[in-house]
Subunit: 376 residues, 3 copies
């Protein structure tokens, strides 16, 4: 009557097809968010949100060398961002990607998935240290796109692991149906793990839930070139429409990031920098359209310590400095203090954080958030 | 090769996680509707619709004290109602709610689900006595919202059951992504079951399919206060936009309802009343925007008798009287005669009804509907 | 721990409900497309797309005589086509249809599914011989609609099979929520299989994957009458809006098609013809709105040979001649050469084709496409 199934947090199904011709893990998750904002001179506002709700399918097909991952978004926040470039239709598919291990350490990916950008972005929203990602990520991340990736890894010494990723993608972000606007996007990333791989891929989840017995460090550097980009944040942000079509300019991003974990302590740092050839979108007569590439820099530093009882205290400092002369945007700093209780790791957890949002010269805003995560 | 599965109508899967760490029932359902309208002086019009199509997941997670329910809508009628307040994106998530039994008879709910409003609304659309709900429900129900609920129940005597529900929610209905417009919504409900609980929670499904051997009665009273509501029917209806933002006024609803079942006979009655502090939305200069809170009253009375062969004949009288001086809307009455064949209870059924729609002073309209339900 | 499951390509689940009260096969598929266009005087453009992504549920419910099929679209291309007639909401439901075998060879279908139109359209997009369907199909197919179908089949001789289908549907295509605009659509189709049924229903998948040991032929003729149609291609294309509502005119389509398979060789041919009573939509004062019914003719001929190693080479000639005096559209011809590698039949395949697009008097366009299909 009852199907045998995984333990809580290990998927709804862990299917193995007949004759081991395929596998599929089916997962689901929901994030419930309550938040409240206080600002001098304004009344407090409290709101509730189904922040994320996802279905995930992954495994191999026909041969263990051919893996796939499909992730669907269901919450209104997950699927919003409709435009004429996405068929005026919600963006349900987050990931739809094939991963073919065609030679020893070489993997060829094709389809739609996250680009090898900043670490904070590539860490799943299911596995974050704090309630949500930082403002650096909000302004600079290169998100998902459709195209191909080539991935390789090797060991320099017994322990020292190097990973290289190279990606070519359409350059306008996920779920575009109108073909390739502007040019392609080229992304390269190198990762160095001098003390070896983290336990259970811990360089790609928040908090040191595995309490690494020896220090582990990963350093990543990404260079991203969006050739003839048409959106104000490369493959993200609004489209730079003009009287003759879409404005195109080259946009380059650099990310440097690191993550360190040891005995419950964790640290993650990121630096981001975006520049553009001609950041001001112009009409055919040379007048500015008002769309401006969001060039600038950002930094994010966060750290936490996981107590034996699976409570964690964490802190974050984030700073974004868009080029004020170009974008007209003033610098923004955020200071965040977070507390998390991991009931079943990242699969069942309650996280709360309080942030001071300091945007010069406005009054500071205090933001409190409380999030409950459940991941089957 | 084949997975053991429930009987028809009991879910697609009834999963129990390893070590009983979680459970999940997966259900699916579709309603196929054909309808036809006749009006004097107009040609008859026949139409077809996939009325509802849902996926449902519920069970417990980690501990039997922590239950969840997720319901997704898939048909275009289910997910429509897109606005800028929902990210211009369809509203796929119907329910996403956690239910925590933190003390003996006390339950704390958080997330998005139905508010404790009128009984007709809280009865699942899968389990209705007739093809669809009444016009009282259409004009007055308080639907779903996101927030928290506290639920308690106790027995006065051996048999006499009392349930109390208190809810605080955002107040603009389901799937809103723009935060809390206006103020919060507060809903309280008390239910009295003087002759004890119905068989299989029969106070919350239509028709006396369990043929209660002794008379069963439930009476419910709901009081709902939507503080600084911004929509014309509280958390439903169009947004009251003005030249300075959203118009806000307090809206109050009262519902009184009862359901009675005995040996195949069933009766359900409801009364609804809505009033508002200042029903006319105004711009900053005091001129009316045209948006008006839909204040007024409604009554719905319906009854049916289920024959031994699982055919049911039912009748309904519904009357809605919006305050004509304020809303400009004339009274509306509907008289409906229904016939249902429950092949596998509410899981596989054919329902038909014919209604006379009497909207003064227009001609009467005759509406015939035929619906087929299948629920795995 | 692990659920027993089908082989790769045979579904994710093949459920049989307790006491054989129902069955359900759950399938999923994704198509990854890369394409490139070359035109004289324009720069080459390469793009990537998740072309289709579907979930499919089918089986029987309660009795083997009552079958159902539900197919959901997930990719942005699948679900686009939103309009006020579909609730401004994406069209996730592709099929939702019940099939009741109420007498020996008689089947009554109700719900939303493909109409019995041209063969190329009724062949699932999962099972196409080439990367995508032809331009004949793009301009003339009658797609899906909601309504009822009556299906019957009988044998003239031992081998000679005849199938008849008659359909009545709403006439505006799938997922319409605004009721029946214009009149109903009536479709009749007869199929003749003089040498008997194809192996595994091979008349409804592309390429002779079953390598028919004896010649098999199917001929189909469809006549379609869309009474008071309101869209420029009958139940497809843009709505013909006027100053008084929707313009209505009768639209008729004829399709003649054939498919032949023998020892790896396959041929499919189709002819389509659309005419309309008054193709020019007019406002109340008789002025033309600009909307014009797309009347005209088309032909599609395609053929392929499947080698022993499951590589196939195929060719296609398609020609569409809309009535130029009426529609102002010039004739269009396409010549396509395709190569497919069927790794696991249509379940895991790589297909590529190159087309010359010849639209008089413009320059020829060369289009190259590469598609990867995975179907669980």
């Amino acid at each position: 009557q009852e199907t045998k199934t995984p333990k809580f947090g290990k998927g709804i199904f862990n299917l193995v097809g007949k004759d081991s011709t395929w596998t599929m893990k089916v997962g689901a998750r929901v994030q419930f968010l309550a938040s409240s904002m206080w600002e001098d001179g304004a009344s407090n506002e409290t709101s509730f949100l189904i922040r994320r709700s996802r279905l995930k399918f992954d495994g191999f097909a026909f041969t263990p060398k051919l893996k796939y991952k499909i992730e669907l978004g269901l919450s209104n926040r997950d699927i919003s961002g409709t435009s004429k470039y996405t068929g005026n239709t919600p963006r349900i598919i987050m990931d739809a990607v094939m991963k073919y291990n065609f030679a020893k350490n070489l993997y060829f990916w094709f389809g739609q998935t996250k680009l090898p950008g900043n670490r904070e972005r590539v860490i799943s929203s299911a596995n974050m240290q704090m309630v949500d990602r930082s403002i650096l990520n909000a302004r600079f991340n290169i998100d998902r796109d459709i195209g191909i990736q080539l991935r390789h890894n090797f060991n320099i010494s017994n322990n020292f692991v190097v990973r290289e990723i190279f990606s070519i993608s359409q350059g306008e972000g996920r779920n575009v149906t109108t073909g390739n606007e502007g040019g392609l996007q080229y992304t390269g990333r190198v990762e160095l793990l001098p003390f070896g791989n983290f336990t259970s891929n811990g360089d790609y989840f928040g908090s040191d839930l595995k309490r690494e017995p020896t220090p582990k460090l990963a350093i990543g550097v990404t260079y991203n070139h969006n050739n003839n980009a048409v959106r104000v944040r490369g493959n993200q942000g609004s489209y730079m429409e003009t009287d003759y079509g879409l404005y195109e300019t080259n946009i380059n991003d650099v990310f440097v990031d690191a993550i360190f974990k040891y005995r419950g302590f964790s640290f993650m740092g990121e630096y981001a920098d975006r520049d553009a050839k001609n950041p001001f979108a112009t009409n055919s007569d040379g007048t500015k359209t008002g769309a401006i590439v969001q060039v600038g820099k950002g930094i994010n530093l966060q750290s936490g310590y996981l107590f034996k009882n699976n409570w964690e205290v964490s802190g974050r400092y984030s700073s974004v400095k868009l080029d004020q002369d170009i974008t007209g945007k003033v610098p923004e700093n955020q200071y965040t203090l977070g507390v998390s209780k991991f009931i079943v790791g990242h699969k069942l957890k309650v996280q709360t954080d309080v942030s001071v949002i300091d945007i010069n010269p406005a009054n500071d805003i205090i933001m409190w958030r409380l999030q409950f995560d459940i991941h089957f």
